[in-house]
Amino acid sequence: MQWSLSEEQSAYRQALRDWLGDVAPTEAVRGWLDAADHTTFTKRFVADGFWGVGVAEDLGGQGGGLVELALTAEELGRHAAPSASWLATLLAVPALAAAPAARAEVLAGAGAALLVAAESIVPGPVPVTVDDAGRVSGTVPRVLAGGEARFLVVPARGAAGMTLRLVEATDPGVRLARRELLDRSRSVADVVLSDAASEPLAVAAGEVLAQAANRAAVLVAADSLGATERMLELAVAYSGQRRQFGVPIGSFQAVKHAAATIMVGVEAARSVIYLAAASVHGGDPRAVLHAAAAKAQVTAEGARAADTALTLHGAIGYTWEHDLHLFYKRAKLDEWLFGSPTAWNEVLADALALA
C-alpha cells in the first residue's frame, strides 16, 4: 500500500504554512491571546481564502475534503492559531447541506457552531428540546466557539425524535456566557436557549452527527500533531543551545532518547491521521475505528509529548516568556476536545467482540 499527499495537497500545505508564518508568528498569536481577540485572525483567514478549503464546491466551498481539512488543522495547531471558529464552522457545515442561504453566509465568514459540549464525542448528551412551534430551549455548556458563531446548529429532541435545528445567535432567545480556557488559543461558551426561534435542517440528523464525531476526532488529532511537532522542534533547538557541565544538554542520551520518543509519536500520528482522514471522507465501513484510533492514540501521545518537551526545557519551559506553553496547552486541550482517549477507546472496545 502506498498513500501520500498529492502534489496539490503538498502545495496547499506549504502555502498555508508560509501564510501562517507571515500572519501568525508567535508574537502575533500572543498579541491576539492577550487581547482575547480571535476575530482578527479569523477575518484574515477568511479574506485570504483558506476558510472554504475542504468544503465541496457544490456546497459553495473551494473543494477538497477531510484530508485538506486535516492538513489545515495540523498547520493551525503547529502555529497555535486561534482557530476554534474555523473548526466549529467546518464541523457544522455538513448540517447546512439543505440550507443554502445560511451556508453561503457561513462560508463567507459568518461562522457556525454545532451545539454540543466541547468535551463530548458528538453529539454527547442532547439537553435541548424543540416545541411544535419550532422554539428551542435548553442549556448546552462549553460549546466550542459558541461565542464566535453567527449560526448555531442545534441537535434537539421533539415529537419527531432528534432533529437538527438552525438558530441565529442574534435571536433574543439566545444567551451566551463565555468561559475561560487554560488554552487561550481556543474559546468555549455556555449557550442558553429560551424559546429561541429555529428552522428545521432537512438532513438526516443521526448520520450527520455521527460523521461530525469522526471528523472532529480526525481534526483534533491533526491539531495535536501540529502542536507536538512544533514542541519537538522547540525542544531540539533548545537542547542544542543550552549548555550544562560544559556541553549542550542535547548531548546527553537521556535527552536524545526523550526527543526521539516524541518523534516516534509524531510519525505514528501522521500515519494514522491521514489514513483516518481518507477513510472517514471516503465512507469506509471501518472509518469510525480509524477515527477513534487516531483521536485516542494521537492526542494521548501529544499530551505526553507536551510533558516530555517541558522536561527537556527545564524551568524556562514553565514560564510564559518561552513559547512552549502555547503548544503545551494546545496539546493538553486536544486530549480532551471532542472526546477523551478513554472515551474513544470505549468506542474501539465496543467495536470488538468483548463482553
Binding site: 546527553f252 542520551q253 537521556a254 532518547h257
Partner: protein, 388 residues
C-alpha cells in the same frame, strides 16, 4: 523508627547468603536446563537447620517469624538461585502454617519434625482448572466413608508435586450449591500423595524448571480423618490465614531475584566495552538500572513494614499485598533491564539473566496476579465497589 535488622536477623541473612553462595549460577542453570530438583542445595539447607526457621521449637524448628523467613528466602533468591532455589523450600518454610495453628497434636508430631529435617517434601494443593483464583469454586470433593474420606477431583499448578510425599489439600466436603455462605464447606487435609490414586503430570512451562509445576488427577484417594486439618468445613478460613505470609514471602523472593538481576547488569555494564568505553557510561543504560535500584529499595521498605506488622500481630493485608505488587514489578523490570543491558548476550543462557527474566515474569502472575492485588486494594483498602 528503627530500620536496622536485629543482630539475629543480620546473622541469619549473612549465614544464608554464605551457604547459598556455595551453589553458583552454573549449578542453577544446569538444574533448570535438566528439569532436575536441586537436591544438593535443598539438603544443604535442611542440614543447616534452615527449613524449620518458622516451625515451633517443640517440633524441632526455630520458631522465628515471617521477617526472618523472608530474609532467608530473599537471600536464597538473591544468590542467583532465583525461584528454583526459593521454590525448592518455599512450602517447608511457611506452608505448614495452617497445620501449626489448626492441626491436631498428632498431625503436628507426625509431620513437622520431618519438615525440619528435610525428610518430608510437601506441596500445596488449592488451585483447580475450573476455579482459578475464585477459590470457593473448587470442586475436588472429599466424601465421608466411615472413618475415612474418599477424594476425587483435579488440581492444577501444584508446585513440586512430583517431588512431594505429601500434599496440603483443599477440598469441598459440602458442594458449593449446598452451602449458605460460599466460604463454608471446604476442608483441608495433610495427606499422602498416593501415586496409585493421584496421577501427577508436569506442565511444560517457560521457566523455573528445576521445580515442577503439575496437574493432579485425583481418583478415589482414601484419606483417614486423622489427616484432616482442624474442623470439617473450615478449610477456607485456615487457608486464608496463610495468604498474607505467602504474599510477603513471594515478595521477598521477587526482591532477591531483582537484586540478582541488577547485580549482573551492573557487572556487565562495567565490563563490556563498545565504542571505546564501558556501556554503563551510556545514560540510556545507566538510568534504567539506577531507576530499578530505587524501585527495588522502595519495594524492600514496603516488604519490611509488612513482615514487621505481621510479626507484631497487627493487621497487614494492605502492606502484604502492596509488598507483593511492588516487589514483583520492581523485580521484573530489573530483570528486563538486565537483559536489555546484556544486548544479544542477555538472550543467551550463558549470562543467566534470561533465566532470571523468565522467573521474574512468573511473579507477576503467581501466586496471584498483580490485578488481583489491585482488586484487593481497591475494594478492601480504598472502599470502592467490588469490581469482579
Amino acid at each position: 523508627m528503627d530500620f536496622d535488622l536485629t543482630d539475629e536477623q543480620a546473622t541469619i541473612r549473612r549465614a544464608v547468603a554464605e551457604l547459598a553462595a556455595k551453589f553458583d549460577d552454573q549449578y542453577w542453570a544446569d538444574k533448570d536446563a535438566a528439569h532436575e530438583f536441586p537436591t544438593e542445595f535443598y539438603r544443604a539447607f535442611a542440614d543447616g537447620g534452615w527449613l524449620g526457621i518458622t516451625i515451633p521449637e517443640e517440633y524441632g524448628g526455630h520458631g522465628f517469624g515471617i521477617t526472618e523467613a523472608s530474609l532467608l528466602l530473599e537471600e536464597v533468591a538473591a544468590s542467583g538461585g532465583g525461584m528454583n532455589a526459593a521454590s525448592s523450600m518455599h512450602l517447608s518454610i511457611f506452608g505448614m502454617h495452617p497445620v501449626i495453628v489448626h492441626g491436631s497434636d498428632e498431625l503436628k508430631r507426625e509431620n513437622l519434625p520431618r519438615i525440619v529435617t528435610g525428610d518430608l517434601h510437601v506441596c500445596f494443593g488449592v488451585t483447580e482448572p475450573g476455579a482459578g483464583l475464585d477459590t470457593t469454586r473448587i470442586t475436588t470433593f472429599a466424601r465421608r466413608d466411615g472413618s475415612d474420606y474418599i477424594i476425587n477431583g483435579r488440581k492444577v499448578w501444584i508446585s513440586k508435586a512430583l517431588e512431594s510425599e505429601k500434599i496440603l489439600l483443599l477440598t469441598r466436603t459440602t458442594r458449593f450449591e449446598d452451602v449458605s455462605r460460599k466460604t463454608e464447606g471446604l476442608t483441608l487435609f495433610l495427606t499422602d500423595l498416593d501415586r496409585d490414586h493421584v496421577d501427577i503430570r508436569p506442565i511444560r512451562k517457560m521457566g523455573r524448571n528445576a521445580v515442577s509445576s503439575n496437574e493432579l488427577f485425583i481418583d478415589d484417594l482414601r484419606v483417614p480423618a486423622a489427616h484432616r486439618v482442624g474442623e470439617e468445613g473450615q478449610g477456607f478460613r485456615y487457608i486464608l490465614d496463610g495468604l498474607n505470609p505467602e504474599r510477603m514471602l513471594i515478595a521477598a523472593e521477587a526482591l532477591g531475584l531483582g537484586r540478582a538481576a541488577l547485580r549482573r547488569a551492573v557487572r556487565y555494564g562495567n565490563e563490556r566495552e563498545v565504542f571505546g568505553r564501558p556501556i554503563g557510561k551510556n545514560q540510556g543504560l545507566q538510568f534504567p538500572l539506577a531507576d530499578s535500584l530505587a524501585r527495588l529499595d522502595a519495594a524492600e521498605l514496603a516488604l519490611r513494614k509488612a513482615t514487621w506488622l505481621y510479626d507484631h500481630g497487627r493487621p497487614c493485608a494492605r502492606e502484604a499485598n502492596t509488598a507483593k505488587y511492588l516487589c514483583a514489578d520492581a523485580a521484573f523490570q530489573a530483570a528486563d533491564r538486565a537483559l536489555q543491558t546484556h544486548g544479544g548476550m542477555g538472550y543467551a543462557e550463558e549470562y543467566h539473566v534470561a533465566r532470571y527474566f523468565r522467573e521474574a515474569r512468573l511473579l507477576r502472575i503467581a501466586p496471584l496476579s498483580q490485578e488481583m492485588v489491585l482488586n484487593y486494594l481497591g475494594e478492601h483498602v480504598l472502599g470502592l465497589p467490588r469490581s469482579y
